[in-house]
């Protein structure tokens, strides 16, 4: 049996774009400088699909987003690329007030099959606007799905699922995972939205982490191996959230640490903690710990390594709940 080929995460995303655009001519991409490619995830696509389907726009997020939003109503399946996910805030009104709520408000008559994507993440010293993770801002609003891959395999599968989904899906990817290599099957496949995965089995503590923080979680689990057995769950999708997989793990471990590269308050970590208390209070042998960004704007400069979640902070939280 031949080895599964390895790809960097960013190329796994590109393969999903390419295969889905070959499969369905309604799929197209719109963004700023995607033909040239600020990130390599769109490299070479314009040569294959032309400027009708790899659409560069002026620096104007309302118009850029509107290209996708309006075309989706007319039966196209757009992917709109904000380059940096934080730039979605320039089109937050049409995304959060209209797109997400559109189907419901208009009597569930219309569907808006579109993917909203962008890169983000602490660790590159890009400043708060480029770095901040926006998954929780988007996930608060019903009607839009939100996901973020941790591995190249998930990146291709989640993007394929997002493109094929008939709902708007925000696909956020972390710059700290961009060049991570991992096995990626060549044929198209789907990682279903709304399904978490146990990525490492363990018996002492459930550690929920995603994106770049999934890597930090693995570092901690490796370090503690032999001392504390860590089970790592990757939620993969923030909305809808697969809480059942986490509760099932807690039946075994009784201890929960949630890592979320987001502000401490009103984050996915907060949401998971609340749902676990609601539905799994009796499973808990220790208080839930959240490892997040304190409630301060993410500074540029040299402060990211200790302000953002990191292996030391995760290890301290794991040890704390396992005392």
């Amino acid at each position: 049996m031949s080895e599964v080929r390895e790809l960097p995460l960013v190329e796994a995303i590109r393969e999903a774009y390419r295969q889905e655009m070959e499969r369905d001519e309604r799929v197209f991409m719109v963004g700023q400088d995607i033909a040239g490619g600020i990130f390599p995830h769109t490299k070479g696509l314009v040569e294959q699909f032309g400027t009708d389907r790899i659409v560069d726009t002026p620096l104007a997020e309302i118009g850029m987003y509107g290209t996708a939003f309006g075309a989706a109503m007319e039966g196209f399946r757009p992917i709109v690329d904000f380059m940096f996910a934080g730039f979605f805030l320039n089109a937050a009104s049409p995304i959060l007030a209209q797109t997400a709520q559109f189907r419901f408000i208009h009597g569930s008559q219309m569907s808006l099959p579109m993917v909203i994507t962008g890169a983000c993440g602490a660790g590159m010293r890009l400043g708060n606007e480029h770095a901040m993770l926006v998954h929780n801002m988007i996930a608060q609003v019903p009607g839009i799905k939100v996901c973020m891959p941790s591995t190249p395999y998930d990146a291709k599968g989640l993007m394929t699922a997002a493109i094929r989904d008939d709902n708007p899906v925000a696909f956020i990817w972390h710059l700290g995972t961009m060049m991570d290599r991992g096995p990626v099957p060549e044929e198209p496949y789907v990682v279903p939205l709304g399904v978490a995965e146990v990525k490492r089995e363990g018996g002492d503590v459930t550690l929920v982490a995603n994106g770049f923080q999934y890597k930090n979680a693995q570092i901690v689990a490796d370090k503690l191996a032999g001392e504390i057995s860590v089970e790592i769950i990757d939620p993969r999708t923030f909305s809808p959230l697969d809480i059942d997989t986490i509760l099932k793990s807690l039946e075994k471990t009784g201890r929960l640490v949630v890592v979320d590269e987001s502000w401490e308050s009103r984050s996915t970590a907060s949401e998971i903690a609340a749902q676990v208390v609601d539905r799994g209070f009796d499973l808990l042998d220790a208080p839930i710990r959240r490892v997040t960004i304190p409630n301060i704007p993410l500074p540029g400069g040299h402060m990211e390594p200790y302000v953002a979640p990191n292996p030391d902070a995760i290890e301290a939280a794991v040890r704390d709940v396992c005392r």
Binding site: P58, I62, G66, M73, G107, M110, S111
Partner: protein, 326 residues
């Protein structure tokens, strides 16, 4: 291009119908028989009727918020019974009673209104992009003068000209945005002057003349379908009443003067159109009376339909099932 007699008759009929619909809504909000609010179109129903009556079935139509788009609904052949049922939260409403005044008729390519004035400058780009890709369809995008304060308006005009999108930017300029006058809010009296910066052809017309509006939009539509790109049509109109029924009718902080409003009433589009169809022998007085009678009967049927429809109060489970496509 001059309109034929049959076209003029249709426009006149739709104008009378739209005027009756608008008055129906004003009556109902004052009787407490309408949800939310109503922004009356009284005296300004010609622009919507003229802009929408001769669109193609595949053309996308974004109605102006004033009169909650009723002039456009009349021209488009929307089921106003379902429209009113929506505005009264009934199960037969066009959106199941969930949207109230954010109504939509996707099957008529009227994709929905929003309380965020100027919201449509975002999707209009994609509507135009899709129409261009598919061919032989265009977008009539109506809005008021106030909405052109939104930054998105400029992004939409920029994209539309860059890509030569088949969009008619149709601006109903009534000189008022709630209590603000256009002279306070825009540096130039004509909103269409903005189009010049993008190299977009623009024209200013009398929005009280339903026939002039229709002639202009027919030409602008042909321009769009010929692949020549967007145009800007500014229809000068007026506002006879307050911004929304029940609020004070102010200009800045002062009540608008009665004598001024009386002067405006002379420009009522129904009066102007009636004078013209009689003068040009398009319709007889007897035919006009019949059109009025039919409009009254239509309104009675619309109200009966909406009033007899049950209030929509689905369970939370049913509502949750409507958020996502399964």
């Amino acid at each position: 291009m001059a309109l034929g007699k049959e076209q003029m008759k249709l426009l006149y009929r739709n104008l009378v119908r739209a005027d009756h619909f608008d008055k129906m809504m004003m009556n109902r909000i004052m009787q407490g028989k309408l949800i939310g609010f109503y922004h009356p179109g009284d005296g300004a129903m010609a622009a919507g009727v003229g802009a929408s009556t001769f669109l193609g079935d595949n053309d996308i139509l974004n109605p102006h918020h004033r009169a909650h788009g009723l002039g456009y609904a009349a021209g488009r052949g929307v089921d106003v019974g379902r429209y009113l049922a929506e505005h009264t939260g009934k199960v037969d409403g066009c959106c199941g009673g969930r949207s109230s005044f954010h109504w939509s008729f996707p099957e008529k390519k009227m994709y929905g209104a929003s309380g965020f004035i100027g919201w449509h400058f975002c999707p209009v780009v994609g509507w135009g992009w899709a129409c261009k890709r598919k061919g032989n369809q265009m977008v009539l995008m109506a809005s008021g003068d106030g909405s052109y304060g939104q930054g998105g308006a400029h992004e939409a005009m920029l994209f539309a000209m860059n890509w030569k999108l088949p969009i008619v930017f149709f601006c109903e300029n009534n000189g008022m945005a709630i209590h603000s006058t256009i002279s306070d809010m825009h540096p130039m009296p004509d909103i269409s002057s903005l189009a010049q910066g993008y190299g977009m052809p623009a024209v200013v017309i009398d929005g009280q003349d339903v026939f002039a509006v229709a002639e202009t939009v027919i030409a602008a539509r042909e321009h769009a379908l010929a692949g020549k790109g967007p145009t800007f049509v500014e229809a000068k109109t007026l506002r006879l009443r307050e911004h929304d029924v029940g609020t004070p009718d102010l200009a800045r902080a002062e009540p608008r003067e009665a004598a001024y409003l009386e002067e405006l009433k002379k420009r009522d589009p129904v009066v102007l159109a009636t004078t013209r169809v009689l003068a040009e022998k398009v319709l007889t007085r007897k035919q006009i009376d019949k059109i009025y009678q039919e409009a009254k009967e239509e309104v009675a049927a619309i109200e009966k339909f909406a009033d007899e429809s049950p209030v929509a109060q689905p369970s939370i489970e049913e509502l949750l099932a409507g958020v996502y496509v399964a």
